[in-house]
Amino acid sequence: MSKDPVVASVETLQARARMLAVIRGFFSERSVLEVETPLLCSSTTSELHIESFCAEDNSSGAGGFLQTSPESCMKRLLAAGSGAIYQICKAFRAGEAGRLHNPEFSMLEWYRPDLGYHGLMDEVGDLLRLILQLKSQRRISYGDAFRRYAGIDPFDISLAGLRKEAEKHGLSGATDREQCLDFLLSLKVQPALGAGLTFIYDFPAAQAAMARVRPGSPAVAERFEAYVDGVELANGYRELIDPVEQESRMWADLERRAAAGIAPVPMDEKLLAALRAGLPECSGVALGLDRLMMLATDSDSLASVISFSYEQA
């Protein structure tokens, strides 16, 4: 092996291979089917804050998008009757580079037709306990987490109050509600979560992404995020199965992208067709494997657990 200092150590590569074996064993025991879906796709996510890479045929220019997650293709398999499935794959997100981000990263994503999103949190905890020494495990709602760690009610507070709060903590030019909440979640709530596994669940409806919204006062997205030692590790949903609602969210995303001056993306018609054919009631979650590896080896950046980081690839 080379002595190249930018390469993950042999011990880290071995630990990663062991981790993947543990994950495959976990799902095999629970009869969840391993699948592979295309990385190169004709459409991509419409989400405002996730940017895709385009891959082109070097001579003809024909091409597609590198997936930002396998969600769309896996839902098409679920609609086709696959039953519970999981996938270990690469995902790509343009512009995301830093200590906890690499534009190309490894993802574990799985779907459970027979579980609610709290049941899926249980399963995420079961899997993580096989890989990490977890000091504690708890669940706290998004509202309670903000009340406790940021001292505000994220559902009640006015936009002016929220902006003032964000500016107080150093955000320049805070504009909309979700930006202020994302900022306070990252800078105030997340660092205060402490050691161990914390699930934050029931997000504001505006942050539903592809999760079901539960009506109520306030209405909340049936979505959760898992944090270990303050590091965001997984994001899960009780999946939206209504094709009409899904299509209207995509159009709303496209309008927000246009308003923000971000490149448009084609509508994911294949996903919409699968939802119209019938996606079973299910919950799904995506988990960052490089971050999991980082936590398992007590490292402080993704670059030290990836064979070659983006700058070295």
Binding site: H49, I50, G95, E96, A97, G170, L171, S172, F183, E225
Partner: protein, 189 residues
Amino acid sequence: MARYSTNEFKSGLKLMIDGDPCAIIENEFVKPGKGQAFCRVKLRNLKNSRVLERTYKSGESVEAADVMDLDLQYLYADGEECHFMDTSSYEQYAASEAAVGDTRKWIKEEDMCIVTLWNGAPLAVAAPNFVELEVTDTDPGLRGDTASGATKPATVETGAVIRVPLFVEIGERLKIDTRTGEYVSRVKD
């Protein structure tokens, strides 16, 4: 005025923050999976050295500070200002007492210094990390006492007073670390 986008942020980059020139010390990319990406930066105000923190939305841009570092030779002080020269262009720069600050007590004529210019005028002057200065006054030396670790004050040629080991004598040249103001060693000619 030039502006830098957050994706160009890196340590050392000079930005204008609240009207003052600042240098980035640390830059961290922060992003909730589905949410807005931010750049969290720690900066040093180049006028008063205070450290501050700011967070910018990814893609935002910030005004660049017209700041550059030059290696200049210290020529002389005229009572109000210290004068420096670019040894290749012979261009001269006058630095105020505030810009030179504590650096003044470590430098002597002909020393090379790093002068930070803001809009073309000296904003700060950094002495070389190590300087060699002659002792002009100190209590008589205690020969042979190289182990006790005890120290005494000594005045060097620039007027600075530092703590030195007991064996140091008037007329000896000392190597001094200007970042800590501490004695490093004697310099043998």
